[in-house]
Protein backbone atom coordinates (compact mmCIF):
# COMPACT_ATOMS: atom_id res chain seq x y z
CA UNK A 1 0.00 0.00 0.00
CA UNK A 2 2.78 2.36 0.96
CA UNK A 3 4.32 1.77 -2.45
CA UNK A 4 1.15 2.77 -4.28
CA UNK A 5 0.66 5.83 -2.10
CA UNK A 6 4.27 6.74 -2.77
CA UNK A 7 3.75 6.39 -6.53
CA UNK A 8 0.68 8.59 -6.45
CA UNK A 9 2.45 11.17 -4.32
CA UNK A 10 5.27 11.19 -6.86
CA UNK A 11 2.72 11.62 -9.66
CA UNK A 12 1.20 14.62 -7.87
CA UNK A 13 4.67 16.07 -7.27
CA UNK A 14 5.51 15.66 -10.98
CA UNK A 15 2.18 17.18 -11.98
CA UNK A 16 2.84 20.06 -9.62
CA UNK A 17 6.17 20.87 -11.26
CA UNK A 18 4.84 20.45 -14.77
CA UNK A 19 1.29 21.76 -14.50
CA UNK A 20 1.21 24.39 -11.75
CA UNK A 21 2.07 27.25 -14.08
CA UNK A 22 -0.43 26.13 -16.67
CA UNK A 23 -3.28 25.78 -14.16
CA UNK A 24 -2.58 29.18 -12.57
CA UNK A 25 -2.12 30.84 -15.98
CA UNK A 26 -5.46 29.60 -17.24
CA UNK A 27 -7.27 30.48 -14.03
CA UNK A 28 -5.88 34.03 -14.14
CA UNK A 29 -7.14 34.44 -17.68
CA UNK A 30 -10.66 33.31 -16.91
CA UNK A 31 -11.09 34.90 -13.46
CA UNK A 32 -8.81 37.92 -13.83
CA UNK A 33 -7.94 37.37 -10.17
CA UNK A 34 -4.36 36.34 -9.37
CA UNK A 35 -4.97 35.41 -5.75
CA UNK A 36 -8.07 33.40 -6.53
CA UNK A 37 -6.16 31.60 -9.29
CA UNK A 38 -3.36 30.59 -6.92
CA UNK A 39 -5.73 29.48 -4.17
CA UNK A 40 -7.81 27.40 -6.55
CA UNK A 41 -4.72 25.80 -8.08
CA UNK A 42 -3.58 24.89 -4.58
CA UNK A 43 -6.98 23.38 -3.81
CA UNK A 44 -6.87 21.39 -7.03
CA UNK A 45 -3.52 19.82 -6.10
CA UNK A 46 -4.83 19.04 -2.62
CA UNK A 47 -7.81 17.34 -4.22
CA UNK A 48 -5.49 15.33 -6.48
CA UNK A 49 -3.66 14.02 -3.41
CA UNK A 50 -6.99 12.88 -2.03
CA UNK A 51 -8.54 11.46 -5.21
CA UNK A 52 -5.73 10.02 -7.28
CA UNK A 53 -4.83 7.23 -4.78
CA UNK A 54 -8.46 6.08 -4.99
CA UNK A 55 -9.36 6.77 -8.63
CA UNK A 56 -5.93 6.42 -10.24
CA UNK A 57 -3.79 9.09 -11.88
CA UNK A 58 -5.75 10.65 -14.78
CA UNK A 59 -4.49 10.27 -18.34
CA UNK A 60 -4.13 14.04 -18.68
CA UNK A 61 -3.26 15.31 -15.22
CA UNK A 62 -3.06 18.92 -16.42
CA UNK A 63 -6.60 18.91 -17.80
CA UNK A 64 -7.90 17.20 -14.64
CA UNK A 65 -6.21 19.81 -12.44
CA UNK A 66 -7.39 22.74 -14.56
CA UNK A 67 -10.97 21.48 -14.44
CA UNK A 68 -10.76 20.92 -10.67
CA UNK A 69 -9.33 24.41 -10.16
CA UNK A 70 -11.96 25.98 -12.40
CA UNK A 71 -14.76 24.21 -10.53
CA UNK A 72 -13.27 25.42 -7.31
CA UNK A 73 -13.21 28.98 -8.67
CA UNK A 74 -16.87 28.73 -9.65
CA UNK A 75 -17.69 27.39 -6.15
CA UNK A 76 -15.88 30.22 -4.48
CA UNK A 77 -17.43 32.88 -6.69
CA UNK A 78 -20.86 31.34 -6.23
CA UNK A 79 -20.56 31.87 -2.51
CA UNK A 80 -20.09 35.55 -3.09
CA UNK A 81 -23.39 36.64 -4.56
CA UNK A 82 -21.99 40.08 -5.31
CA UNK A 83 -19.69 38.59 -7.87
CA UNK A 84 -22.50 37.05 -9.88
CA UNK A 85 -21.41 38.76 -13.09
CA UNK A 86 -17.90 37.44 -12.70
CA UNK A 87 -19.29 33.94 -12.20
CA UNK A 88 -21.16 34.12 -15.48
CA UNK A 89 -17.96 35.19 -17.19
CA UNK A 90 -15.98 32.30 -15.72
CA UNK A 91 -18.62 29.76 -16.65
CA UNK A 92 -18.86 31.19 -20.15
CA UNK A 93 -15.11 31.37 -20.66
CA UNK A 94 -14.62 27.77 -19.66
CA UNK A 95 -17.36 25.42 -20.72
CA UNK A 96 -16.53 22.02 -19.24
CA UNK A 97 -16.42 20.27 -22.60
CA UNK A 98 -13.84 22.55 -24.18
CA UNK A 99 -10.12 22.59 -23.65
CA UNK A 100 -9.26 25.75 -21.72
CA UNK A 101 -6.20 26.43 -23.84
CA UNK A 102 -8.02 26.99 -27.11
CA UNK A 103 -10.23 29.96 -26.34
CA UNK A 104 -7.71 32.55 -27.29
CA UNK A 105 -8.37 35.59 -29.41
CA UNK A 106 -4.73 36.58 -29.94
CA UNK A 107 -3.73 33.22 -31.38
CA UNK A 108 -1.39 32.40 -28.53
CA UNK A 109 -1.14 28.72 -27.87
CA UNK A 110 -0.60 28.71 -24.19
CA UNK A 111 -1.74 30.82 -21.26
CA UNK A 112 1.66 30.34 -19.67
CA UNK A 113 3.14 32.65 -22.30
CA UNK A 114 0.78 35.44 -21.24
CA UNK A 115 1.74 34.75 -17.66
CA UNK A 116 5.47 34.95 -18.42
CA UNK A 117 5.12 38.26 -20.23
CA UNK A 118 2.91 39.73 -17.53
CA UNK A 119 5.15 38.61 -14.66
CA UNK A 120 8.16 40.07 -16.50
CA UNK A 121 6.47 43.35 -17.46
CA UNK A 122 9.06 46.16 -17.36
CA UNK A 123 6.61 48.41 -15.50
CA UNK A 124 7.20 46.18 -12.46
CA UNK A 125 10.33 46.40 -10.36
CA UNK A 126 12.94 43.79 -11.20
CA UNK A 127 12.75 42.08 -7.79
CA UNK A 128 8.96 41.93 -8.12
CA UNK A 129 9.24 40.38 -11.59
CA UNK A 130 11.54 37.69 -10.29
CA UNK A 131 9.36 36.93 -7.26
CA UNK A 132 6.16 36.87 -9.30
CA UNK A 133 7.67 34.54 -11.89
CA UNK A 134 8.82 32.11 -9.19
CA UNK A 135 5.50 32.20 -7.35
CA UNK A 136 2.92 32.07 -10.10
CA UNK A 137 4.76 30.31 -12.89
CA UNK A 138 7.15 28.01 -11.06
CA UNK A 139 4.95 27.41 -8.02
CA UNK A 140 7.54 28.13 -5.35
CA UNK A 141 6.03 29.13 -2.03
CA UNK A 142 6.49 32.64 -0.68
CA UNK A 143 8.67 31.17 2.09
CA UNK A 144 10.91 29.41 -0.44
CA UNK A 145 11.36 32.56 -2.52
CA UNK A 146 12.07 34.59 0.62
CA UNK A 147 14.78 32.10 1.64
CA UNK A 148 16.32 32.16 -1.82
CA UNK A 149 16.59 35.95 -1.75
CA UNK A 150 17.55 36.19 1.91
CA UNK A 151 14.62 38.36 2.95
CA UNK A 152 11.90 37.68 5.50
CA UNK A 153 8.75 35.92 4.41
CA UNK A 154 6.73 39.01 5.35
CA UNK A 155 8.90 41.20 3.08
CA UNK A 156 8.51 38.77 0.20
CA UNK A 157 4.75 38.49 0.77
CA UNK A 158 4.47 42.27 0.67
CA UNK A 159 6.50 42.41 -2.54
CA UNK A 160 4.17 39.90 -4.20
CA UNK A 161 1.03 41.69 -3.02
CA UNK A 162 2.32 45.03 -4.32
CA UNK A 163 3.19 43.55 -7.70
CA UNK A 164 -0.25 41.98 -8.10
CA UNK A 165 -1.87 45.24 -7.05
CA UNK A 166 0.06 47.18 -9.64
CA UNK A 167 -0.89 44.70 -12.36
CA UNK A 168 -4.53 45.22 -11.49
CA UNK A 169 -4.57 48.95 -10.75
CA UNK A 170 -2.23 50.15 -13.49
CA UNK A 171 -3.90 47.99 -16.13
CA UNK A 172 -0.93 45.78 -17.04
CA UNK A 173 -2.51 43.55 -19.67
CA UNK A 174 -2.58 39.77 -19.46
CA UNK A 175 -1.34 38.99 -22.91
CA UNK A 176 1.66 38.47 -25.13
CA UNK A 177 2.77 41.87 -26.48
CA UNK A 178 2.06 42.92 -30.05
CA UNK A 179 4.68 42.17 -32.69
CA UNK A 180 6.18 45.69 -32.66
CA UNK A 181 6.88 45.50 -28.92
CA UNK A 182 7.82 41.82 -28.82
CA UNK A 183 11.62 42.04 -29.26
CA UNK A 184 11.99 44.47 -26.34
CA UNK A 185 9.56 42.63 -24.15
CA UNK A 186 11.13 39.26 -24.91
CA UNK A 187 14.48 40.72 -23.88
CA UNK A 188 12.88 41.76 -20.59
CA UNK A 189 11.69 38.18 -20.04
CA UNK A 190 15.11 36.73 -20.86
CA UNK A 191 16.72 39.23 -18.48
CA UNK A 192 14.51 37.99 -15.63
CA UNK A 193 15.37 34.35 -16.32
CA UNK A 194 19.08 35.07 -16.56
CA UNK A 195 19.02 37.15 -13.37
CA UNK A 196 17.28 34.25 -11.65
CA UNK A 197 19.95 31.88 -12.91
CA UNK A 198 22.82 34.14 -11.90
CA UNK A 199 21.31 34.69 -8.50
CA UNK A 200 21.45 30.94 -8.04
CA UNK A 201 24.82 30.45 -9.73
CA UNK A 202 26.84 33.13 -7.98
CA UNK A 203 24.81 34.18 -4.99
CA UNK A 204 25.18 37.95 -4.81
CA UNK A 205 25.55 37.82 -1.05
CA UNK A 206 25.67 35.45 1.85
CA UNK A 207 27.72 32.38 2.66
CA UNK A 208 26.44 30.03 -0.07
CA UNK A 209 28.09 30.34 -3.43
CA UNK A 210 25.49 28.25 -5.23
CA UNK A 211 21.77 28.22 -4.63
CA UNK A 212 21.04 25.52 -7.07
CA UNK A 213 17.25 25.59 -6.92
CA UNK A 214 17.18 28.96 -8.63
CA UNK A 215 19.42 27.70 -11.45
CA UNK A 216 17.20 24.69 -11.96
CA UNK A 217 14.08 26.85 -12.04
CA UNK A 218 15.64 29.29 -14.51
CA UNK A 219 16.61 26.46 -16.84
CA UNK A 220 13.20 24.84 -16.53
CA UNK A 221 11.46 28.13 -17.38
CA UNK A 222 13.83 28.76 -20.30
CA UNK A 223 13.09 25.30 -21.70
CA UNK A 224 9.39 26.04 -21.38
CA UNK A 225 9.76 29.42 -23.08
CA UNK A 226 11.70 27.80 -25.89
CA UNK A 227 8.94 25.28 -26.35
CA UNK A 228 6.39 28.11 -26.46
CA UNK A 229 8.44 30.40 -28.74
CA UNK A 230 10.48 28.08 -30.99
CA UNK A 231 11.09 30.83 -33.57
CA UNK A 232 13.02 33.11 -31.22
CA UNK A 233 16.69 32.10 -31.41
CA UNK A 234 17.70 34.20 -28.40
CA UNK A 235 15.53 31.98 -26.19
CA UNK A 236 17.56 29.00 -27.37
CA UNK A 237 20.73 31.04 -26.88
CA UNK A 238 19.90 31.75 -23.26
CA UNK A 239 18.80 28.16 -22.60
CA UNK A 240 22.08 26.83 -23.99
CA UNK A 241 24.11 29.42 -22.08
CA UNK A 242 22.55 28.44 -18.76
CA UNK A 243 22.94 24.72 -19.52
CA UNK A 244 26.66 25.18 -20.24
CA UNK A 245 27.25 27.22 -17.10
CA UNK A 246 25.21 24.93 -14.92
CA UNK A 247 26.99 21.87 -16.35
CA UNK A 248 30.21 23.09 -14.71
CA UNK A 249 28.58 23.52 -11.34
CA UNK A 250 29.68 20.18 -9.76
CA UNK A 251 33.33 21.08 -10.33
CA UNK A 252 33.09 24.74 -9.43
CA UNK A 253 33.33 24.43 -5.67
CA UNK A 254 35.44 21.81 -3.88
CA UNK A 255 34.48 19.71 -0.82
CA UNK A 256 35.60 22.49 1.50
CA UNK A 257 33.33 24.98 -0.28
CA UNK A 258 36.23 26.76 -1.96
CA UNK A 259 36.07 28.14 -5.51
CA UNK A 260 37.91 26.12 -8.13
CA UNK A 261 38.83 28.28 -11.15
CA UNK A 262 37.86 27.00 -14.59
CA UNK A 263 41.39 25.98 -15.54
CA UNK A 264 41.72 23.71 -12.47
CA UNK A 265 38.27 22.15 -12.55
CA UNK A 266 37.93 18.39 -12.83
CA UNK A 267 36.24 18.30 -16.22
CA UNK A 268 35.09 14.69 -15.76
CA UNK A 269 32.65 16.05 -13.17
CA UNK A 270 30.88 18.32 -15.65
CA UNK A 271 27.36 17.28 -16.69
CA UNK A 272 27.94 15.83 -20.14
CA UNK A 273 24.19 15.43 -20.75
CA UNK A 274 23.55 19.13 -20.16
CA UNK A 275 26.49 20.11 -22.37
CA UNK A 276 25.17 17.95 -25.22
CA UNK A 277 21.66 19.33 -24.80
CA UNK A 278 23.03 22.87 -24.83
CA UNK A 279 25.02 22.24 -27.99
CA UNK A 280 21.98 20.88 -29.80
CA UNK A 281 19.87 23.84 -28.69
CA UNK A 282 22.55 26.37 -29.65
CA UNK A 283 23.06 24.81 -33.08
CA UNK A 284 19.31 24.97 -33.56
CA UNK A 285 19.23 28.66 -32.65
CA UNK A 286 22.23 29.54 -34.81
CA UNK A 287 20.60 27.90 -37.82
CA UNK A 288 17.95 30.64 -37.72
CA UNK A 289 20.71 33.10 -38.62
CA UNK A 290 19.57 35.88 -36.29
CA UNK A 291 22.52 36.28 -33.92
CA UNK A 292 22.07 37.95 -30.56
CA UNK A 293 23.92 38.53 -27.30
CA UNK A 294 22.70 35.33 -25.62
CA UNK A 295 23.66 33.18 -28.60
CA UNK A 296 27.13 34.77 -28.60
CA UNK A 297 27.57 34.22 -24.87
CA UNK A 298 26.42 30.63 -25.31
CA UNK A 299 28.94 30.19 -28.15
CA UNK A 300 31.66 31.44 -25.81
CA UNK A 301 30.55 29.10 -23.01
CA UNK A 302 30.45 26.26 -25.56
CA UNK A 303 34.11 26.89 -26.48
CA UNK A 304 34.99 26.35 -22.84
CA UNK A 305 32.96 23.21 -22.22
CA UNK A 306 33.96 21.39 -25.41
CA UNK A 307 37.66 21.61 -24.53
CA UNK A 308 38.72 18.25 -23.09
CA UNK A 309 41.55 19.90 -21.16
CA UNK A 310 41.87 23.54 -20.15
CA UNK A 311 44.91 23.79 -22.40
CA UNK A 312 42.77 22.79 -25.42
CA UNK A 313 40.58 25.89 -25.06
CA UNK A 314 40.40 27.91 -28.29
CA UNK A 315 41.11 31.30 -26.73
CA UNK A 316 41.56 33.09 -30.07
CA UNK A 317 38.03 32.06 -31.05
CA UNK A 318 36.72 33.16 -27.65
CA UNK A 319 38.46 36.55 -27.97
CA UNK A 320 36.87 37.01 -31.40
CA UNK A 321 33.42 36.12 -30.03
CA UNK A 322 33.85 38.65 -27.21
CA UNK A 323 34.81 41.30 -29.78
CA UNK A 324 31.57 40.57 -31.67
CA UNK A 325 29.60 40.67 -28.44
CA UNK A 326 31.16 44.01 -27.48
CA UNK A 327 30.19 45.46 -30.85
CA UNK A 328 26.62 44.22 -30.45
CA UNK A 329 26.13 45.27 -26.81
CA UNK A 330 29.06 47.44 -25.70
CA UNK A 331 29.83 46.77 -22.05
CA UNK A 332 32.79 47.14 -19.72
CA UNK A 333 32.31 43.61 -18.35
CA UNK A 334 32.44 42.17 -21.86
CA UNK A 335 35.61 44.18 -22.52
CA UNK A 336 37.14 42.75 -19.34
CA UNK A 337 36.32 39.19 -20.42
CA UNK A 338 37.71 39.92 -23.84
CA UNK A 339 40.95 41.08 -22.22
CA UNK A 340 41.19 37.77 -20.34
CA UNK A 341 40.72 35.82 -23.58
CA UNK A 342 43.28 37.99 -25.37
CA UNK A 343 45.74 37.40 -22.51
CA UNK A 344 45.30 33.67 -22.94
CA UNK A 345 45.58 33.80 -26.74
CA UNK A 346 48.33 36.44 -27.17
CA UNK A 347 50.02 36.60 -23.75
CA UNK A 348 49.42 38.47 -20.47
CA UNK A 349 50.99 41.71 -21.76
CA UNK A 350 48.33 42.15 -24.44
CA UNK A 351 45.59 41.42 -21.93
CA UNK A 352 47.02 43.70 -19.26
CA UNK A 353 47.09 46.65 -21.68
CA UNK A 354 43.35 46.18 -22.27
CA UNK A 355 42.61 45.81 -18.54
CA UNK A 356 44.60 48.96 -17.75
CA UNK A 357 42.71 50.91 -20.43
CA UNK A 358 39.46 49.71 -18.87
CA UNK A 359 40.69 50.65 -15.40
CA UNK A 360 41.56 54.14 -16.65
CA UNK A 361 38.07 54.53 -18.15
CA UNK A 362 36.67 54.32 -14.61
CA UNK A 363 33.70 52.26 -15.80
CA UNK A 364 34.19 49.33 -13.46
CA UNK A 365 35.46 50.97 -10.28
CA UNK A 366 33.47 48.81 -7.84
CA UNK A 367 33.71 45.52 -9.70
CA UNK A 368 36.03 43.11 -7.86
CA UNK A 369 36.84 41.09 -10.98
CA UNK A 370 38.69 44.04 -12.55
CA UNK A 371 41.46 44.18 -9.91
CA UNK A 372 41.29 40.36 -9.58
CA UNK A 373 41.99 40.01 -13.31
CA UNK A 374 44.74 42.62 -13.17
CA UNK A 375 46.29 40.80 -10.23
CA UNK A 376 46.21 37.52 -12.09
CA UNK A 377 47.90 38.96 -15.18
CA UNK A 378 50.53 40.77 -13.10
CA UNK A 379 51.25 37.51 -11.23
CA UNK A 380 51.74 35.71 -14.54
CA UNK A 381 54.14 38.45 -15.62
CA UNK A 382 56.10 37.94 -12.39
CA UNK A 383 55.19 41.41 -11.09
CA UNK A 384 54.29 40.04 -7.65
CA UNK A 385 54.39 43.26 -5.68
CA UNK A 386 51.83 44.95 -7.96
CA UNK A 387 49.83 41.70 -8.08
CA UNK A 388 49.55 41.65 -4.28
CA UNK A 389 48.27 45.24 -4.23
CA UNK A 390 45.65 44.40 -6.87
CA UNK A 391 44.55 41.27 -4.95
CA UNK A 392 44.07 43.44 -1.86
CA UNK A 393 41.85 45.86 -3.83
CA UNK A 394 39.82 42.93 -5.19
CA UNK A 395 39.49 41.44 -1.72
CA UNK A 396 37.91 44.65 -0.42
CA UNK A 397 35.32 44.61 -3.20
CA UNK A 398 34.48 40.87 -3.37
CA UNK A 399 30.81 40.25 -2.52
CA UNK A 400 30.83 36.63 -1.26
CA UNK A 401 32.80 34.80 1.42
CA UNK A 402 33.92 32.12 -1.04
CA UNK A 403 35.31 34.75 -3.38
CA UNK A 404 37.05 36.52 -0.52
CA UNK A 405 38.68 33.26 0.62
CA UNK A 406 39.80 32.51 -2.95
CA UNK A 407 41.36 35.96 -3.35
CA UNK A 408 42.97 35.72 0.09
CA UNK A 409 44.64 32.44 -0.96
CA UNK A 410 45.89 34.05 -4.15
CA UNK A 411 47.19 37.02 -2.19
CA UNK A 412 49.06 34.68 0.18
CA UNK A 413 50.55 32.85 -2.82
CA UNK A 414 51.77 36.06 -4.41
CA UNK A 415 53.31 36.99 -1.06
CA UNK A 416 55.23 33.71 -1.00
CA UNK A 417 56.29 34.14 -4.64
CA UNK A 418 57.59 37.60 -3.81
CA UNK A 419 59.58 36.19 -0.89
CA UNK A 420 61.12 33.62 -3.25
CA UNK A 421 62.36 36.27 -5.69
Amino acid sequence: MGGIAGTVEAAVATAFREEWGRVVATLIRVTGDWDLAEECAQDAFAKALERWPRDGVPVRPGAWLTTAARNRAIDRLRRKATEATKLVEVAAAMPADRSPDRSDESGVRDDRLRLIFTCCHPALRMDARVALTLRTLAGLTTAEIARAFLVSEATMAKRLVRAKQKIKNAGIPYRVPAAHALPDRLNAVLAVLYLLFNEGYAASSGPNLVRHDLCAEAIRLARLLRQLMPDEPEVGGLTALMLFQDARRPARVDEAGEIVPLEHQDRSRWHRGQIDEGRTILADAERQDRPGPYQLQAAIAARHVIATLAIDTDWAAIAALYARLDRMVPSAVVKLNRAVAVAMADGPDAGLAMVDALDASGELTDYHLLPATRADLLRRLGRHFEAAAAYRTALDLAPTDAERRYLARRLAESGRARADV
Binding site: H121, A123, N169, A170, G171, I172, P173, P177, A178, A181
Partner: protein, 106 residues
Protein backbone atom coordinates in the same frame (compact mmCIF):
# COMPACT_ATOMS: atom_id res chain seq x y z
CA UNK B 1 -8.91 52.64 -18.51
CA UNK B 2 -8.11 56.28 -17.94
CA UNK B 3 -4.62 57.52 -17.28
CA UNK B 4 -3.18 60.88 -16.38
CA UNK B 5 -0.04 61.65 -18.31
CA UNK B 6 2.24 64.20 -16.65
CA UNK B 7 4.90 65.61 -18.91
CA UNK B 8 8.01 66.55 -16.93
CA UNK B 9 10.38 68.71 -18.95
CA UNK B 10 13.15 71.19 -18.47
CA UNK B 11 11.39 74.49 -19.20
CA UNK B 12 14.53 76.05 -20.66
CA UNK B 13 14.57 73.47 -23.48
CA UNK B 14 10.80 73.22 -23.98
CA UNK B 15 10.10 72.88 -27.69
CA UNK B 16 6.77 74.72 -27.50
CA UNK B 17 3.32 73.87 -28.85
CA UNK B 18 4.42 73.22 -32.47
CA UNK B 19 6.58 70.32 -31.41
CA UNK B 20 3.72 68.50 -29.72
CA UNK B 21 1.04 69.30 -32.33
CA UNK B 22 1.47 66.11 -34.43
CA UNK B 23 1.21 63.98 -31.28
CA UNK B 24 -1.94 65.79 -30.18
CA UNK B 25 -3.45 65.40 -33.65
CA UNK B 26 -2.71 61.67 -33.71
CA UNK B 27 -4.00 60.94 -30.21
CA UNK B 28 -7.11 63.06 -30.71
CA UNK B 29 -7.69 61.18 -33.96
CA UNK B 30 -7.35 57.83 -32.21
CA UNK B 31 -9.79 59.07 -29.54
CA UNK B 32 -7.19 58.33 -26.90
CA UNK B 33 -6.53 61.85 -25.71
CA UNK B 34 -9.62 63.08 -23.91
CA UNK B 35 -8.29 66.34 -22.60
CA UNK B 36 -4.96 67.96 -21.95
CA UNK B 37 -3.02 71.16 -21.93
CA UNK B 38 0.34 72.74 -21.88
CA UNK B 39 0.97 74.56 -18.58
CA UNK B 40 2.31 78.05 -17.91
CA UNK B 41 5.87 78.03 -16.55
CA UNK B 42 6.72 77.55 -12.86
CA UNK B 43 7.32 81.29 -12.56
CA UNK B 44 3.54 81.66 -12.84
CA UNK B 45 2.86 78.92 -10.30
CA UNK B 46 1.48 79.38 -6.80
CA UNK B 47 1.67 76.63 -4.17
CA UNK B 48 -1.11 76.65 -1.60
CA UNK B 49 -1.08 75.04 1.88
CA UNK B 50 -3.32 75.40 4.91
CA UNK B 51 -1.58 75.07 8.29
CA UNK B 52 -3.39 75.72 11.58
CA UNK B 53 -6.26 77.22 9.61
CA UNK B 54 -4.00 79.69 7.90
CA UNK B 55 -3.55 79.81 4.14
CA UNK B 56 0.13 79.80 3.25
CA UNK B 57 1.23 80.68 -0.26
CA UNK B 58 4.52 80.13 -1.99
CA UNK B 59 5.57 81.65 -5.28
CA UNK B 60 6.72 78.75 -7.41
CA UNK B 61 6.22 75.01 -7.62
CA UNK B 62 6.01 72.43 -4.81
CA UNK B 63 9.53 71.18 -5.51
CA UNK B 64 12.40 73.01 -7.13
CA UNK B 65 13.77 70.52 -9.64
CA UNK B 66 15.28 70.88 -13.07
CA UNK B 67 12.33 69.15 -14.67
CA UNK B 68 8.87 70.52 -14.00
CA UNK B 69 5.40 69.51 -15.09
CA UNK B 70 5.07 71.25 -18.43
CA UNK B 71 1.77 69.73 -19.44
CA UNK B 72 -0.73 66.98 -18.85
CA UNK B 73 -3.14 64.80 -20.77
CA UNK B 74 -6.00 62.52 -19.83
CA UNK B 75 -5.85 59.35 -21.89
CA UNK B 76 -8.40 56.64 -22.48
CA UNK B 77 -6.45 53.47 -23.23
CA UNK B 78 -7.22 49.78 -23.32
CA UNK B 79 -4.37 49.01 -20.94
CA UNK B 80 -0.94 50.12 -19.70
CA UNK B 81 0.81 48.84 -22.82
CA UNK B 82 -1.21 51.24 -24.96
CA UNK B 83 -0.62 54.09 -22.50
CA UNK B 84 3.13 53.37 -22.66
CA UNK B 85 3.06 53.38 -26.45
CA UNK B 86 1.22 56.74 -26.44
CA UNK B 87 3.54 58.29 -23.83
CA UNK B 88 6.65 57.08 -25.65
CA UNK B 89 5.52 58.95 -28.77
CA UNK B 90 5.21 62.27 -26.92
CA UNK B 91 8.15 64.58 -27.72
CA UNK B 92 8.61 65.24 -23.98
CA UNK B 93 9.68 61.62 -23.48
CA UNK B 94 12.90 62.25 -25.41
CA UNK B 95 14.35 65.10 -23.37
CA UNK B 96 12.28 64.91 -20.22
CA UNK B 97 10.19 62.12 -18.73
CA UNK B 98 6.57 61.20 -18.67
CA UNK B 99 4.70 59.88 -15.69
CA UNK B 100 1.74 57.66 -16.47
CA UNK B 101 -0.74 57.22 -13.64
CA UNK B 102 -4.05 55.41 -13.66
CA UNK B 103 -6.99 57.47 -12.45
CA UNK B 104 -8.47 56.19 -9.20
CA UNK B 105 -11.76 55.01 -10.61
CA UNK B 106 -14.40 52.25 -10.09
Amino acid sequence: MRYLMLVHVDESVDGGPDEVAPWVAEMDGRRIRQFGSRLRPVSDTTTVRVRDGEILLTDGPFAETKEQIGGFDILECSDLDEAIEVAAKHPGAKDGRIEVRPLWEE
